[in-house]
Amino acid sequence: MLSARFSRVSPTLAAFRTVSKTKQAKSATAGAIAYRKGIRYNSTAALYYPNEPKKPQAVTDSIPGPVSVELNEVLGEVFDNRASYFVTDYDNSIGNYISDKDGNQLLDVYCQISSIPLGYNNPELFKTAQSKEMASALINRPALACFPPAEYANILKEGILAAAPPGTDKVWTALSGSCANETAYKAAFMYLAAKKRGSLDFSDEELTSVMNNEAPGSPETVILSFDKGFHGRLFGSLSTTRSKALHKLDIPAFKWPKAPFPALKYPLNEHSRENAEEEARCLAEFEEIICQYPPHTIAAIIVEPVQSEGGDNHASSVFFQGLRDITIKYDILMIVDEVQTGVGASGKFWAHEHWNLTTPPDMVTFSKKFQAAGFYYSNPNLQPKQAYRQFNTWCGDPSKALIARTIYQEVVKNDLVTKTASVGDYLYKELDSLFKRHPGKAKNLRGEDYGTFIAFDCANPTKRNEFLLRMRGAGINIGGCGDFSVRLRPTLVFEKSHAAVLLSAMETTLQEL
């Protein structure tokens, strides 16, 4: 469906068409100059990608180009690719630029739905991918909990665990965001049941009833999530996902509760009182819902620092501290879902660090930009007392843990979190003034002081989709969220120069809208 819309010739395409692809294949000298410039200007992108394009490059009249369209048709015979934007040439993608198979290179601020941390074909990740360790991790994939490799402890300590959010010091690894959340739910359910059971062993009744999927062995305990939250699409995670009907239709779900998430008014500084009231209302309703359940029925709540798929909905530190206080009051675990917000894009390594909670969350889940997935925790009781309960064949993937280690080390070495915060500040201010110059076309700009994790609304879904499409025509690959929002999810090496390209394309596009 989407691809059909793309095949239209974009009116703005000619504007960014430039002479040649040969330009991209610049000489080694140019690379060396760019490298030196990178050091001089403190540009990590220039260090990594001396040959990164300076702006989008078009070689065909429409995106996707004819080659991409044809390839997509062939692929569609065996793989459901109706959601495909275009067939990508990953070999021709570089840094912040993604290339379709026709050779069009677009500035990418969507980044595989927010999951490319350091840009395409990053040279440091390349080294890791070509290492002996990686080859072994790929071809000797272990059943990690049964036959862990000797080096796994260090790989975790130097990577995933070195990045652990404050107040956590252990990790359980998984394979995707959904899988990370579901394993966290399992930990929460087993923790709650163990607390109720105390020092007792499983009862015969539990052992028998669980085999029939019945209580008490399979209890009616729940996870509470928030309206418009997105936590994945497997059955447990999908039961907590409340973003869109299309994500959930026809799939049986657990009857788990949801609480309202604040709907803040923008600009924030003009609506402080109303927004404080809205958050107080949501907290009161949250507590009310908790009180409707018998004690020790809600094992955990799960919340995103910014509800991303659901429309980039933010809430203040006061709201999140309120959630933390209430969960402590009622002895409920708090899971923070950092699948989309984690790994630097918010201007902190973990977005929930913005809150300065008095007590850290009980579990923090991650995936996407970290490439590896899982959950952090500190309470040893979140590890079930018996082995083989939080267990499966692979228990994660060491090849992804290796990649995560390099990602973490590069983020630290190049100070990418701080840099992202500062690029974000620049971008936010420029967008603010851009939108003021084009009133009525984009509103509710959000993500101030939140790195490049920025979003805004269009007037309605049709306008939003038109905006996304025209931006693609102007050489920017960009994504939406919620019903009428646009979200920016660039890499951590998205810099001022890239922001300038983005802003100029937006200026043109808004004028045309």
Binding site: T88, I113, I139, A145, A150, M211, K258, F391
Partner: protein, 475 residues
């Protein structure tokens, strides 16, 4: 092959050890230290040992103390071609793999130029009758994706494939309520294992410890045949058992409180004790699912990729028509489900969808594994080695009947198992096998399962048989 006297395994692994080497008691001193260090940050209480994968070769796994074990457990049945297989090293070092690792795509949105080619390799080894695939990340994930496909298919049959959703559906679903979130079920079998996420755990019925304290869907389970062994001596009783179990299936399809969108079954229930069933039972199941309009999902996560002597174990059954979906993972390294009915693809995009929709790095590896299995005819080789091994085990079972009951897996290549009297004896046996340098695993409470690689050959079988005999003769 360069020389007829060189076996496939020797071709891959000229340096493979000729016998196990045991230098320390298990666990050795280095192992204890390494396990403790890891356990501080990662729950590794289930660790058999800490492995040195760089030194492991072919059918031999090496631990940090330098013990070298013949591995017939192979990462819970998930190492297809031996440790450090040179063909897979090539693939791991290829540019294609590097790109897949460092440019991991959101495959549904931005498929790569090579995606079609990668999928074509997976489809070359698709089970008979299947011509499409959807990718996941693990066995549990593969099964749950198949459940989702089944539920969407079931509702679309009621609604009409191209019909839209009602307002009532789109509103109720946001509250996790019917009709948008309907009351539908997947039927599984007693002793089945299909994974440990919430829906897959609801279909898993192997052991309480896999499920305790987790909320689950109230889905039905039928009975899987419990045969008497040896099969040749119990034909009538086992046929009767097939009929009894099929009647239970049919009864549940007719009477369960909510519609059953799909029936899910393993060709051999592996975690649940290596329980086998006959071709007639599987054909009966196919017939009854057609009769009642439920899909049939065959879970080949453990049985798939050659170890039973055919690429997919259910190919032994000659079911007609073929199953509606076949799930895979483990030895294939990639995961997902094969299918053929275009209406198993939901009527709109973004319904069967997630960020990654699989992992091209793993899919590339799967394609390479499939190609090696076909090129070197490794399913047939596994059958040959299984036929060599089985009679030797049969002889041992005759000699040590107290420790080898219900030997099963005849004509199922190396996918062989037997039972002990009880769990403690079985566990002792598994531990004792380490002292003779063999890493072997259990299933159910009292069984031993052999899950070697596809390059496990006669000479390895001899070492295994001698090891078993050495331990059993000491009891």
């Amino acid at each position: 092959m360069p020389h007829p006297t060189i076996s496939v395994c020797e071709g891959y692994f000229p340096e493979e050890p000729v016998a196990p080497v045991v230098v320390t008691s298990s666990p050795g001193p280095k192992l204890k230290k390494a396990a403790d260090a890891l356990n501080k940050v990662f729950d590794s209480r289930a660790a058999y040992f800490v492995a040195d994968y760089a030194k492991s070769q072919g059918n031999y796994i090496v631990d940090v103390d330098g013990n070298s074990y013949l591995d017939v457990y192979a990462q819970i049945a998930s190492i297809p071609l031996g440790y450090n297989n040179p063909k897979l090293v090539e693939v791991a070092k290829s540019d294609k793999m590097t790109s897949a690792i460092i440019n991991r795509p959101a495959l549904g949105n931005f498929p790569g130029a090579d995606t079609e080619e990668i999928i074509a390799e997976l489809l070359k080894v698709a089970p008979k009758g299947q011509d499409k695939v959807w990718s996941g990340l693990s066995g549990a994930d593969a099964n749950e994706l198949a459940f989702k496909a089944a539920f969407m298919w079931y509702q679309s049959k009621k609604r009409g494939y191209s019909s839209g959703f009602s307002t009532e559906e789109t509103e109720s679903v946001m509250k996790n309520q019917a009709p948008g979130s309907p009351e539908l079920a997947i039927m599984s079998f007693e002793r089945a294992f299909h994974g440990r996420l919430f829906a897959s755990a609801s279909t898993t019925c192997s052991k309480p410890i896999h499920k305790l304290d987790l909320p689950s869907f109230n889905w039905p389970k039928a009975e899987f045949p419990s045969y008497k062994y040896p099969l040749e001596a119990n034909v009538a009783a086992n046929q009767e058992e097939d009929r009894r179990c099929l009647a239970i299936v049919e009864n549940l399809l007719k009477t369960w409180a909510v519609p059953i969108a799909a029936v899910l079954i393993e060709p051999i229930q592996s975690e649940g004790g290596d329980n086998h069933a006959s071709n007639e039972f599987f054909q009966g199941l196919r017939d009854v699912t057609l009769k009642y309009g439920s899909l049939l999902i065959v879970d080949e996560v453990q049985t798939g990729v050659g170890a039973t002597g055919t690429f997919w174990a259910h190919e032994h059954f000659n079911m007609s028509p073929p199953p509606d979906m076949v799930t895979f993972s483990k030895k294939f390294q990639s995961a997902g489900y094969y299918f053929h009915d275009p209406e198993i693809i939901p009527n709109q995009p973004y319904r069967q969808f997630n960020t990654w929709c699989g992992d091209p790095a793993r899919m590339i590896l799967a394609g390479a594994i499939g190609k090696e299995v076909v090129d070197k005819d490794l399913a047939k080789q596994a059958a040959r080695v299984g036929n060599y091994l089985y009679p030797k085990l049969e002889a041992l079972a005759g000699k040590y009947p107290a420790y080898m009951a219900d030997l099963r897996g005849k004509n199922r290549a190396t996918f062989i198992a037997w039972s002990f009297k009880d769990a403690s004896l079985r566990n002792k046996f598994l531990a004792d096998m380490k002292t003779v340098g063999i890493n072997v695993g259990g299933c159910a409470e009292d069984s031993v399962r052999l899950r070697p690689t596809l390059v496990f050959e006669e000479k390895h079988a001899d070492i295994l048989v001698a090891g078993i005999e050495k331990i059993l003769s000491s009891y």
